[in-house]
Amino acid sequence: MSIEFKLNGQSVRVKASEKDMPLLWFIRENAGLKGTKFGCGIGQCGACTVHMNGEAVRSCSITVAQVKDTNIRTIEGLAKQSGELHPVQQAWMQVDVPQCGYCQAGQIMAASAMLSKNPSPSDKDIDSQMTNICRCGTYVRIRQAIKIAADNLAKEVV
């Protein structure tokens, strides 16, 4: 029995023999989507963050068996079909957040999942929900970008 789930809207199948493979490695190596990053492999850094049914999850610490029948979205699938970037990506560009850039896909996935539940997070909310490590220390800009994205999302809804 193979395992099926949706990856950025498309059905993918994994052989049952590979059911214990962490989702991260399936995404990067089997599906060839390199935006999701490996940082620690033990759920501590968040570089590997993706959405599972809209929730931020750390793909290094979840196996493909555990994502059976779910919708997985990676950074490559975050923009609209039209190619228009997600408001969080746009805000990241507006603030020019990255330094080395390695953690940023994970940060963006964490931020976009947070904003979908909590469209106007307080500083405290940001503190408690943005737990990804940025080795380069871009936290100040990440916070600014989240606030801009929240404002823009609020306008979109109106």
Binding site: L33, E76, R135
Partner: protein, 737 residues
């Protein structure tokens, strides 16, 4: 899915050659005065101009978060008067290498290395001159077509303009003919600062959209046709070797092709301490990374410890260091101005305190990786390394293949911080591909990265300082022991305190160390700026006013250390002043709040920070806002200078609060982020306001300078808030956060 590595290489080649004109500018005998460099005598960078007037540029220096991939092209584009918005950027710049008669490998054109905050300094003259030369070539071509005097022409946003007639021609149109023009050096005119149109303005990261959309920019993302995937089970402790390993189990994993034993390779540090470059281990060669990872796990090896490393423990060493600096053992005298003993004997007040810093990990966000394809006579290496010439050098050293036959494809680096200067991950990949006669890609884990790190040296620094009855600092004696590495005793308070002595102990150690973001600067500043604060409080003076006094008279002194020619107390004072002004220094603070200040000079740039903290009754620390001022000469890209000021300072705060690796019997015991705590959003200051001091000094680096003042600024703020003076990093051992 499409493979990325080769596609991108083909893209690079075609983008550089097809359709447009490739501008190679060779500058006649051109050298940067005083640059610490064996740099080549001529220089070239790819600027490709297409007939539609669009441009593709490549930065000679790769990015590791220091933003050189943006800054480098800005220097050239401005002098060339290119339209920045019409430039696209190649992912890599091929490494052009050359060899001296002695066989030393260097860069044929620009200096492509990055480290020591030198990329801006070393490329500043080269890049601008290249741009100005190319601009003149365009003008000469237009002058020939229009039959006018080149002097009557000007350039703007990728056009040559004849203002008398209003005619203009695009660079795209002129490029083909211009490429053959030779420009005499005497005709190259560099712009005045006021004429810059690209530099001096906020410019965005050239790879920004690729980063936020998750494009494969990094070494770990690269693929290579036919490459075998390799994970190496490395000895976790220095010097250890494999005792037992379940090789059958590993080979039984589907997809595992082969196991290869890796032998340890040792070299020596300049101190003659043994340096283990490559650890012993077993390479699992597989069809896929996942198979290699499973194979590695299945090996479940046990290790034979090395006898020579049994006494290598960081706590033990730190205790030794304390013992050395506390006693009156003879140390190596480094500097000895005036007479400290006389100053101390006449002192009105004398303070004697000891400051400690532990081993810092680099923890580059992207674990190391390297693709090597070693063929019979040539080779291809795809890797993110701070010094591309060292990559080719390693191939030559380990395979005999001529370094000039090595294609080095530099990838964007997920952090470097000095660690991507080491050769271990190169050597492993080269060895495996050479032996297997097949291309390989090796990938490290986080545990490998920390266990096999070359840490920032640990320090114990004892500082004795004296004040006279006017509370002037009359004597300063710095005495330190460290795991290798020197002291930044050319920095302040050198030259400011008349009687000034520094000394250090050589201590034999097998604990691996290497450059860590501004080597020895943060540690030095922690001791100096903490002591300065202690002196101010002893003198009952405001810490800011006390520093202003120390910086008097404002004067530029010769700098004998690495990376700068002079150090100016006036420029330093200005940074203190600006940071303090932004912080509204002297304002009334809420209960349990405190402001701390510290500043430092790193490799030609000056930075000072003020940070506000609160310390609760329960000894709970909260970092509030911070304010930083930097003087890095002419500010090429204020946006990225601010970004470095924010991130570099946070890295310094992380070093101050959390970054401590404990080594026991030669093994790093906290080997991943569950045991090596790292700063996150919730501990970080909410806001860091930055001021860039405006002046017209030549630009200097910003990758390292913001980091050094952080630990002292924070410790000083904790003192101001709570009366608690913490002299030992990590601060989180003494205060809750």
């Amino acid at each position: 899915m499409a493979s990325t590595g080769l596609d991108r290489r083909q893209f690079l080649k075609s983008s550089a050659l097809a359709g447009g004109m490739l501008l190679s500018i060779n500058l006649p005998m051109f050298r940067i005065a005083n640059a610490n460099t064996k740099a080549s005598s001529d220089w070239c960078i790819y600027v490709e101009i297409k007939p539609d007037n669009s441009v593709v540029m490549a930065s000679p220096v790769m990015d590791m978060g220091q933003h050189m991939k943006t800054t480098g092209p800005m220097m050239l584009a401005d002098e060339m008067d290119l339209d920045w918005d019409k430039i696209s950027f190649a992912e890599h710049c091929p490494a052009y290498l050359n060899k001296s008669e002695e066989g030393e490998i260097g860069y044929q054109y620009s200096d492509m290395g990055t480290g020591g905050s030198h990329a801006v300094r070393r490329n500043w003259d080269y890049m601008r001159t290249a741009g100005a030369t190319a601009r003149q070539m365009m003008i000469d071509q237009a002058a020939e077509l229009w039959r006018v005097n080149p002097e009557s022409l000007s350039t703007k946003a990728s056009y040559v303009v004849h203002s008398a007639t209003g005619k203009k021609l695009s660079y795209g149109y002129l490029a083909k003919g211009a490429a053959t023009k030779k420009v005499d050096k005497s005709r190259i005119k560099l712009k005045q600062t006021k004429d810059y149109v690209i530099m001096g303005r906020d410019t965005y990261t050239v790879d920004l959209e690729q980063i936020v959309t998750g494009k494969p920019l990094f070494g770990i993302d690269a693929e290579y046709p036919g490459a075998l995937q390799v994970m190496i089970l490395r000895a976790p402790a220095q010097g250890a070797s494999v005792d037992k390993a379940n090789k059958e189990a590993a080979l039984a994993i589907p997809g595992v092709i082969k196991l290869m034993d890796i032998e340890a390779q040792n070299e020596e540090y300049w101190t003659k301490d043994e340096k283990q470059i490559v650890s012993a281990g077993i390479a699992v060669v597989a069809e896929s990374l996942w198979a290699a990872m499973q194979g590695k796990r299945a090996l479940s090896a046990s290790w034979k410890p090395s006898k020579a490393h049994q006494d290598q423990s960081s706590e033990h060493q730190q205790a030794k260091f304390r013992h050395l600096v506390a006693g009156d053992f003879e140390a190596k005298v480094r500097k000895n101005d005036g007479d400290v003993q006389a100053a101390f004997s006449q002192a009105n007040r004398l303070i004697d305190e000891t400051y400690e810093t532990p081993l810092f990990a680099h923890a580059c966000m992207e674990p190391f990786n390297c693709i090597a394809d070693i063929r019979e006579k040539d080779a291809t290496i795809i890797v993110g390394h701070q010094f591309p010439h060292m990559v080719a050098e390693e191939v030559e050293k380990n395979t005999g293949i001529d370094a000039l036959s090595v294609e080095v494809i530099s990838q964007r680096m997920g952090g470097g911080f000095g660690r991507r200067f080491e050769r271990d991950f190169l050597r492993e990949a080269i060895y495996l591909s050479h032996t297997l006669k097949q291309p390989v890609k090796i990938t490290w884990t986080r545990e490998d990265e920390i266990e096999r790190d070359f840490f920032a040296p640990a320090y114990v620094m004892r500082v004795k300082a004296s004040l006279d009855e006017n509370n002037k600092v009359t004597g300063w004696h710095h005495r330190q022991a460290q795991t290798r590495g020197g002291a930044r005793d050319d920095c302040f308070p050198a030259k400011l305190v008349k009687n000034y002595k520094t000394e250090h102990f050589e201590y034999p150690s097998k604990i691996p160390t290497g450059p860590w973001r501004g080597p020895a600067h943060l540690q030095w500043t922690f001791a100096v700026e903490s002591m300065t604060d202690e002196l101010a409080y002893q003198a009952n003076e405001d810490p800011l006013a006390f520093r202003f006094k120390l910086m008097q008279p404002h004067q530029a002194h010769d700098y004998e250390g690495w990376g700068a020619e002079s150090i100016d107390s006036g420029r330093m004072a200005k940074c203190y002043e600006s940071a303090a002004k932004m912080a509204k220094w002297g304002r009334k603070l809420s209960k349990n709040h405190g402001l701390g200040i510290a500043g430092h000079f790193t490799f030609g740039s000056y930075a000072a920070f003020v940070i506000e903290v609160s310390v609760s009754e329960q000894n709970e620390l909260t970092l509030l806002d911070a304010w930083g001022a930097i003087d890095c000469g002419f500010a090429i890209n204020p946006n990225h200078i601010r970004n470095q000021m924010e991130g570099g300072f946070i890295d310094g705060l992380n070093a101050a609060l959390f970054n401590k690796v404990t080594v026991e019997k030669g093994q790093a015991v906290n080997n991943n982020f569950h045991t090596l705590r790292w700063m996150k959003m919730k501990e970080s200051p909410n806001n860091i306001q930055v001021d860039i001091i405006q002046n017209n000094f030549p630009p200097t680096g910003v990758g390292e300078p913001p980091t050094a003042p952080a630990a002292a600024a924070l410790a000083n703020a904790i003192y101001a808030a709570s009366g608690q003076r913490i002299r030992q990093l990590p601060l989180s051992d003494s205060i809750r956060i």
